[in-house]
């Protein structure tokens, strides 16, 4: 075998090895990227699946425009008190003049001016109490969590009188929904 044949063979081998290595790097990096995305995607889906809420009772004072309701975390995951601002509350109601209105109510634990919704207290097994991850509301940030099986007593101030009936729709941060309707 001549020198040129040897060099050609070495070059061919180098090209093949380099190509194979680069291909391997591409496949591995692509797989790693997809694996991370899939893992995050599954985690998000799991959160959507595990995060469920249920509005159990509602009481309405139509003249004051006030709605009090109990909502229980019936999912498998806790919702941090700091994330309560991510809970959506939409109400559909008739005002005193008989006009139907739809209102997205913002979360405001201070409850300075209506419309707002805020947590009055935390209930567990029918009584007041929050043993696990107790919720404490602060001015700048809140601590604690709304854990599974715990019930929040929520106050909704609409800012005007209500008549006939009220629909309340509530959505958890990951989109879990519960609704209730009541006559006035």
């Amino acid at each position: 075998m001549g020198l040129s044949t040897t060099i050609a063979t070495v070059f061919t081998a180098l090209i093949l090895i380099t190509g194979f290595s680069l291909n391997l790097v591409i496949v591995v990096s692509t797989a790693e990227f997809l694996r991370a995305s899939l893992r995050d995607g599954v985690a998000m889906d799991r959160q959507v699946f595990d995060e469920r809420i249920d509005i159990e009772e509602v009481a309405v004072d139509g003249s004051l425009g006030l709605i009090i309701m109990n909502v229980t975390n019936i999912g498998e995951t806790s919702i941090m008190a700091d994330d309560f601002r991510l809970i959506d509350l939409i109400i559909v109601y008739y005002d005193d003049s008989g006009n139907m209105k739809t209102l997205w109510v913002p979360y405001s634990q201070e409850g300075a001016s209506a419309p707002y919704w805020k947590v009055r207290r935390v209930l567990f097994q029918g009584g007041e109490g929050d043993l696990i991850n107790p919720i404490s509301f602060g001015l700048s940030e809140s601590i604690g969590a709304w854990d599974p099986h715990e019930t929040l007593e929520i106050e909704i101030a609409v800012g005007e009188s209500l008549s006939r009936f009220v629909y309340v729709f509530m959505y958890s941060p990951s989109g879990g929904q519960s609704s209730i309707a009541t006559s006035i």
Partner: protein, 159 residues
């Protein structure tokens, strides 16, 4: 003997040059392939992590709809990206497509529970859709499509 060595040397140089050129072309092709592959993977990954949900829709007047869309994915959308979304309204008699517009026919939005300008996970936008015709009674389907093609649908009735 001498002429054989010269021939061998010429062939060796030719093989080295050809091999180098081939290697260069091969490496360039592989790099381009890697770039395309990374781009496609990134795009797919972003789509997998993007998720939005229309939570409620209603009409606020005879030619205006409002609806609320929640970001339930891991991807944060900047104001520029949100504005690239499209709204499709399937009505009882026709289908219309709307782009973002601050005034006139089209849709605009406001971030409701955000602490910054980005539309992050769990946050909700209120979308106002201004139509160029009157809404007629019937069933409607709203489709909100974000910049990368991920969409959410909501069906409601106007009585």
């Amino acid at each position: 003997m001498s002429s054989t060595m010269i021939s061998e040397a010429i062939i060796m140089v030719a093989v080295i040059v050809a091999g180098s050129m081939l290697t260069q072309v091969f490496l360039i092709s592989i790099t381009r392939f890697q770039y395309s592959s990374n781009w496609a993977t990134k795009d797919l990954s972003e789509k997998m992590l993007t998720s939005v949900l229309i939570i409620y829709a209603t009409n606020s007047s005879s030619s205006e709809l409002i609806f609320w869309v929640k970001n339930i994915g891991a991807v944060s959308l900047t104001r520029q990206l949100v504005k690239m979304s499209d709204v499709v309204l399937v009505g009882p008699s026709d289908v219309s497509e709307f782009s973002y517009s601050d005034s006139g026919s089209g849709w605009s939005y406001s971030l409701l529970n955000s602490e910054d300008e980005k539309w992050d996970y769990g946050e909700t936008i209120q979308v106002t859709l201004r139509l160029d015709s009157q809404l007629e009674p019937g069933d409607y389907t709203l489709i909100f499509v974000v910049y990368n093609g991920v969409k959410t649908e909501y069906t409601f009735t106007i009585g």
